[in-house]
């Protein structure tokens, strides 16, 4: 049963310390007034905000976008401009939802970071398919077993029993979608955005799928009296 907490069940505390003027000379009220005032003030505010978003995106690309950094500078600029434009559109579309719980710029930068980070994640892998979200011939735990070959046959047998149990839970108790999500995220190490795109969904929905899968696996393990400590201890012993 999905029990994710939703917007309407979380009470937010209002905070005003950020608007003390220490962190920015332009207050939230200044931004909102300018952005909501048609004419020159709005144009100037949008230009300034676009410049900030552009710089924030370039900072992120500089630190995380090695695939983009291999491009010619003009293409890096174009990429960042496109991302900034998309982020600016998101900021404007969501302006009414800004409730003053953070600095306005931090709130706006969230759209920029989200935009560029998602784009970079989606560009990281170019040739994966749904086939990569199913168990391969070598088995789900092949790498772990190579890592953890025990000299003691009894220990080896205990590990094999546990991994077989986990494998059965994944194959028999999870839905196909939950299994694809677990294999993609935890076993393959793909990003949430990547797997979400493959499954024609979004990050938020995929998170709910993974939450349900974790809950289900947890309940099965606890029913078998397999605590976290028991499992980890089994793989800490080397002989």
């Amino acid at each position: 049963m999905l029990t994710l907490q939703r917007d309407d069940t979380i009470a937010l505390g209002r905070q005003s310390w950020y608007n003390s003027g220490e962190m920015s000379s332009q207050t939230n009220e200044d931004w909102l007034r300018a952005l909501n005032q048609p004419g020159e003030p709005q144009r100037e505010a949008l230009e300034k905000l676009r410049d900030y978003l552009f710089r924030v995106i370039l900072v992120y690309v500089r630190d995380h976008g090695r695939y983009i950094l291999e491009l010619p500078p003009s293409e890096i600029r174009q990429f960042a401009e496109d991302m900034a434009q998309e982020a600016l559109l998101s900021v404007r579309a969501n302006l009414d939802s800004f409730r003053g719980e953070s600095k306005f710029t931090t709130w706006a930068y969230r759209f920029a970071i989200n935009q560029v980070a998602s784009e970079l994640r989606l560009r990281r892998y170019t040739a994966i398919s749904l086939e990569d979200l199913i168990e391969q011939r070598e088995g789900l735990f092949a790498e772990l077993r190579r890592d953890q070959e025990a000299l003691d046959p009894e220990l080896e047998a205990e590990r094999r029993i546990l991994l077989n149990r986990l494998r059965r839970i994944i194959h028999e108790d999870l839905t196909e979608r939950q299994r694809q999500a677990v294999i993609g995220i935890h076993f393959r190490g793909y990003s949430m955005d990547e797997v979400a795109e493959l499954l024609h969904t979004n990050r938020n929905s995929l998170y709910k799928v993974l939450h349900d899968a974790r809950q289900k696996i947890k309940s099965r393990l606890l029913a078998d009296h397999l605590s976290e400590g028991d499992i980890l201890a089994l793989f800490e012993r080397n002989s």
Binding site: L12, D51, Y60, P72, E101, A117, R121, L144, F187, K218
Partner: protein, 112 residues
């Protein structure tokens, strides 16, 4: 493609499974909370919904990446160190003034 669930990732996965609470916030909710959470952290104030946010970040690698990125730029801005375009868009040695693109309208020209 090679399976990459080595011991480190296996331990992390087992930990995540056992630490899964009944109630979690989803990615949409996390994204809405993130700006206030980051600002509070940088100001040394106890963030709202700290427990929920931390739990989500521990389970969602993409939102955790967004958090790190947002915290970094918010920190730079707080310190007055958000780099200018001239610093962020350097011209590579092979790019001469002849083939360098014209700056887009509204943008600061690239430094030579």
């Amino acid at each position: 493609l090679e399976a990459i669930l080595n011991r480190e990732r296996f331990n992390e996965w087992i930990h995540q499974i056992h630490q899964t609470p009944e109630v979690e916030i989803d990615c949409d909710r996390l994204q809405k909370l993130l700006p206030a959470y980051v600002d509070a952290e940088l100001a040394g104030v106890l963030p709202v919904q700290e427990c929920h946010v931390k739990n989500h970040l521990a389970h969602c690698p993409d939102c955790a990446g967004d958090y790190v990125g947002l915290r970094h730029v918010a920190c730079l801005e707080m310190q007055g160190q958000l780099p200018e375009l001239e610093v962020l868009l350097p011209v590579r040695p092979h790019e001469t003034s002849k083939n360098r693109p014209e700056p887009t309208e509204g943008m600061t020209a690239v430094a030579p």
